[in-house]
């Protein structure tokens, strides 16, 4: 999976961080870091 594919699957405005009962979208910096981690784990599945 590429970064662009991951972003298409999880758009920034439709992915949330939750604290207690409050949800918010990620900042640009948070989103980019989260995407990189997500792509890595998507491409390196568990054995």
């Amino acid at each position: 999976m590429t970064i662009d594919e991951y972003k298409a699957l999880y758009p920034q405005d439709q992915t949330f961080i939750q604290t207690d009962d409050t949800e918010r979208t990620m900042t640009d910096e948070e989103y980019e870091a989260w995407v990189i981690e997500g792509v890595y784990y998507s491409n390196n599945p568990r054995s």
């Binding site: 949330f16 990620m26 997500g38």
Partner: protein
């Protein structure tokens, strides 16, 4: 009083009986829709030394991510080792986190959900926090149990549950306190 106490309909519970309840529900947190992580505040306090956290995420959007667990805002010093085996062959399939940014080899989950139960020892006290708990990989067909620690002595009141990829929707995170050591 017998151990365990015997209750009958309409009986008044005494302070001694209530104070002997060993596992007390501290709080529950509902998991929202399409969330990458859930921070639970006010979980740990001087009321208890040791806690049980049970995570029930009802669905994962895609893939099979690990569950991650982080204390406060600390993003270094997490260690975890799970001695697991492949169910079909009994072959070793061990899982480790070595000075990680979180305990990010818990769980794991798949599209039908993600469930785990973890004991945290001393997250509020100024001591190393010890973790132990489940590792049951439904998709990969392997399982075992693990334990580890956080290499600092910070006092924490909050924790964050996440997934290493994808998002969670629905479910509950429950926090219980163990009575008897405070």
């Amino acid at each position: 009083m017998a151990t365990p106490p015997t209750f009958s309909s309409g009986a008044v519970l005494t302070a001694a009986q209530m104070n002997s309840v060993g596992l007390w529900l501290v709080k529950t947190q509902t998991i929202g829709n399409a969330v990458s992580s859930v921070t639970v505040t006010g979980a740990f306090s001087a009321d208890y030394d040791h806690y049980k956290i049970i995570v029930q995420a009802n669905s994962i959007a895609a893939g099979g991510p690990y569950m991650s667990l982080q204390l406060g805002a600390t993003a270094t010093g997490y260690y975890w080792g799970a001695a697991t085996v492949v169910y079909s062959s009994a072959a070793s399939s061990n899982i480790t986190v070595n000075n990680g940014s979180s305990w990010n080899r818990l769980g794991p989950g798949n599209t039908v959900g993600m469930v785990g139960a973890y004991d945290l020892l001393n997250p509020f006290k100024n001591e190393n926090t010890i973790i132990s708990g489940t590792y049951a990989d439904v998709a990969a067909g392997s399982g075992g149990t693990g334990s580890g620690f956080l290499n600092d002595t910070t006092s924490y009141t909050a924790f964050t549950v996440g997934v290493t990829s994808s998002t969670m929707t629905g479910g509950t995170i429950a926090v219980y306190g163990y009575k008897g050591t405070v």
